[in-house]
């Protein structure tokens, strides 16, 4: 019976291979073709944003193939792999990705990709480019996995310093954090900020660090503690449900402490979950990437180009921006690698070298990202990092500040 099952497995795989062959996009014959493996989560926890994120990054590859790629005589093929946001699934997919695609770079999504591949990529000499901010636990020298943004803690520290300057005065800014132990990544975000506050008491006075569930029952009591402690800002980088519960808790207390959110739980997402953006009037989102606001910025213009000419269907929001940023810095690095090594015989190792060799300027990423100077010391640029701040004014998302400097944060 087991022998039969094995035959069944073969059959299935043949069928699978046929299906793959049948659905591969038709190849337009270019001089050189390189493959990118796109790790995606269409059926797991990120299923709601994945189509938009994927739309963003795929549109960038199409754009690059038709513009820069054509000039250089290079075409980038890509293929999505479904990871279900599960490390086990990534690990079982990886050998197939290598043999089927032989990619020069992996375009990753989240924690499970990092967990499953952090020890494999150096062996296989293929770099991976992420879309999100970095984590403290991935802050290792000699990385093969890279983030275009600093850690979440860097981003919140940058924002808080900007806020203190806006307020003026010498007093440290009184800050509360709302975190959760549901995921180690959430804990990591809080830990970094805690360490910074401890080392810079003159800048940030951490009045409360509250851990709660990913879907809190009630935060009224916790928010009263935050209010009583005189907090001037509330950092919530976990998820949307916690933002909503915290907002309700603040409203119950009759308080309006500005909340700072990150990209994955930002203003549009949290506003939607609250039932209206106007309820987030005066709250902030801050991250090291262009804010998807109504203002006419270079990023916005590039998005419009992608929509008009390259088949992008996603709306203009932070998730699309994340996909486009990821796509842009990935193709820019590859572009640099081609410039340095020629169009032929490009390898993953060369791509990684190109990342360290030359900064990725903000012009090259159409303003989606600040100028990035990667070094082998960390998976993200340690110098010259910037954070952008968005807010809600009159029920609309507007850009409050751009290019806010991120202070030096010690590794925790």
């Amino acid at each position: 019976m087991t022998y039969q099952s094995k035959r069944g497995l073969r059959g299935l795989l043949t069928a699978g291979a046929l299906a793959v062959a049948a659905t591969m996009p038709l190849k337009v014959q270019a001089e050189e073709t390189y493959n990118l493996a796109l790790l995606s989560d269409f059926s797991g926890p990120y299923a709601d944003i994945m189509p938009i994120l994927a739309g963003g990054r795929e549109a960038v590859f199409t754009w690059w193939n038709e513009t820069r790629g054509r000039e250089l005589g290079v075409k980038l093929n890509y293929k999505n792999y479904e990871t279900r946001y599960d490390a086990a699934q990534v690990a079982s997919l990886w050998p197939g990705i290598k043999s089927e695609l032989d990619p020069i770079a992996v375009v990753g999504l989240g924690g499970p990709d990092v967990a499953a591949l952090s020890e494999r990529l150096p062996e296989d000499k293929i770099p991976m480019f992420m879309a999100t901010a970095a984590y403290g636990f991935a802050w290792q020298p000699d990385a093969w996995i890279f983030n275009p943004r600093p850690t979440y803690s860097h981003e919140s520290v940058g924002f808080l310093n900007w806020m203190r300057e806006q307020r003026g005065g010498d007093e440290p800014l009184k800050v509360a954090i709302l975190a959760s132990e549901a995921s180690p990544a959430y804990v990591d975000m809080a830990k970094g900020l805690e360490l910074y506050a401890e080392e810079h008491p003159e800048e940030i006075d951490l009045v409360e660090v509250i851990y709660t569930e990913v879907q809190p029952t009630d935060l009224t009591g916790q928010m009263r503690r935050v209010v009583r402690a005189g907090a001037e800002a509330l950092v919530i980088q976990t998820n949307t449900s916690i933002v909503v519960a915290a907002k309700r808790g603040l409203q119950a207390n009759g308080a309006n402490i500005p909340i700072m959110m990150s990209s994955h739980n930002g203003l549009p997402a949290s506003g939607g979950a609250l039932g209206g953006l106007e309820q987030l009037e005066g709250d902030f989102e801050a991250y090291g990437m262009a804010i998807a606001a109504d203002e006419d910025t270079p990023a916005r213009q590039f998005y419009e180009t992608l929509v008009a000419d390259y088949g992008l269907e996603a709306p203009w929001n932070v998730v699309t921006a994340m996909g486009i940023s990821q796509g842009l810095y990935t193709v820019t690095v590859i572009n640099h690698a081609i410039e340095a090594n020629g169009a032929e015989g490009l390898t993953g190792e060369m791509v990684r070298e190109a990342l360290f060799a030359k900064p990725i300027t903000t012009e090259e990423t159409h303003g989606f990202l600040p100028t990035l100077s990667f070094t082998p010391e960390a998976p993200f640029p340690l110098q010259g990092l910037k954070v952008n701040v968005g807010t809600v004014k009159d029920g609309k998302i507007t850009i409050e500040a751009t290019g806010v400097d991120v202070p030096h944060v010690e590794k925790w």
């Binding site: 269409f42 079982s92 050998p95 952090s118 180690p184």
Partner: protein, 350 residues
């Protein structure tokens, strides 16, 4: 189960695992094929087999604890996590060889499992089963809140590759042989356990613990043993997992993972070691199909909307499990045995 009319004629033959020549032949063929697999199939399949073998070790342990001894265990992933963390810490901090870390991982998980099993002396039935969920939450809490120098906290732990005589087990193939060896030993051991004195005590306690007690079986100790053995298997599986992924983090061992291990033994059939293996195979293969054909379907039938395709995949997985429970509550192995018996006694109905 043999059909009526076929009886073992001696105690020895009753205890025998491989009953017929055909079975022996099939077993040899199967093992041979598996051993040769790295030379026959692609790396992707080897990776799937690696994952299946690790799951098999864990599911077989759960089968002994739940399927044989009747102790529902929803903390198997936590026990696996204890094993994975033990192996990772030993390997990364003391540099101990995997020949030692794997059994030690099993032992430490067994100890953790035994602590929960000990409550069996007082707690009965569901109450006991549900305390295993507490194991899951306590494990998560402990890892995140103990000083990060102990268990890595939210940072997780990076694991050096397994090494033996200068050979590093990093390639899929090398890991395959390592996993194969451990899995073979563990599965053979499981067959040994279930037909030993322990195995019979397990079944007796599962079927009627009061009666088992009257027959002189120490019921509490038997239940604790079931947890101990089940957790040992989970720990060994966890260690293999650590060496395969080479990075452990607490979010790799959640309640949902535990539920999937339960699903595997449901689908395969309760109370059968082979059933556990079949269940692992079926569930993993469904997961792999989702991962493999999902993106293609979504690409090719864009008019259907990729969303529906992918959400449908979760339904398939849950549906398979629920359907098994409704149509075949005794699992695939039971159906196979019925087919086999009715073939042998044909044309008689019984």
């Amino acid at each position: 189960m043999d059909p009526s009319g076929v009886f073992p004629t001696s105690y020895r033959s009753d205890r025998r695992i491989v009953r017929t020549r055909w079975q022996a032949l099939a077993l040899v063929l199967f093992m041979g094929l598996l051993l040769a697999a790295p030379y026959l199939v692609s790396g992707r399949i080897i990776a799937i087999l690696n994952m299946m073998m690790i799951s098999a070790v864990i599911a077989v342990g759960l089968q002994i604890c739940t399927g044989y001894a009747g102790q529902i265990n929803l903390g198997q992933a936590a026990f696996m996590g204890v094993g994975a963390y033990t192996a990772s810490i030993l390997a990364s901090k003391t540099g101990l060889t995997f020949l030692l870390t794997i059994p030690l991982a099993g032992l430490s998980a067994a100890l953790f499992g035994f602590l929960f099993g000990l409550t069996a002396a007082r707690i009965k039935g569901f109450y006991l089963a549900l305390t295993t969920i507490a194991a899951q939450f306590l494990f998560h809490f402990a890892v995140l809140n103990l000083p990060s120098t102990w268990l890595g906290g939210s940072n997780g732990i990076t694991v050096p590759p397994a090494e033996l005589f200068g050979l590093r087990f990093v390639s899929e193939t090398a890991q395959f042989y390592m996993n194969f060896a451990v899995t073979a030993i563990m599965v053979a051991g499981a067959f040994g356990i279930v037909r030993s004195r322990f195995g019979r005590a397990f079944v007796a306690v599962r079927d009627d613990d009061v009666a088992a007690g009257i027959m002189g079986i120490n019921v509490a100790a038997t239940k604790a043993n079931a947890f101990l053995i089940g957790a040992f298997y989970a720990g060994v599986g966890g260690a293999l997992w650590a060496y395969l992924i080479r990075f452990v983090g607490v979010d790799q061992f959640t309640l949902f993972h535990s539920i999937f291990f339960v699903a595997m033994i449901i689908v395969g059939g309760m109370g059968s070691i082979v059933g556990a293996l079949v269940g692992v195979f079926v569930i993993r293969i469904i997961q792999e199909i989702i991962a493999t054909v999902g993106p293609n379907i979504a690409d090719s039938v864009s008019f259907l909307g990729g969303d529906i395709v992918f959400a449908g995949m979760n339904v398939v997985l849950g549906g398979v499990i629920a359907l098994f429970m409704i149509l075949e509550p005794k699992g695939l192995m039971h159906r196979w045995n019925i087919l086999k018996s009715s073939y042998r006694i044909w044309p008689f109905p019984y």
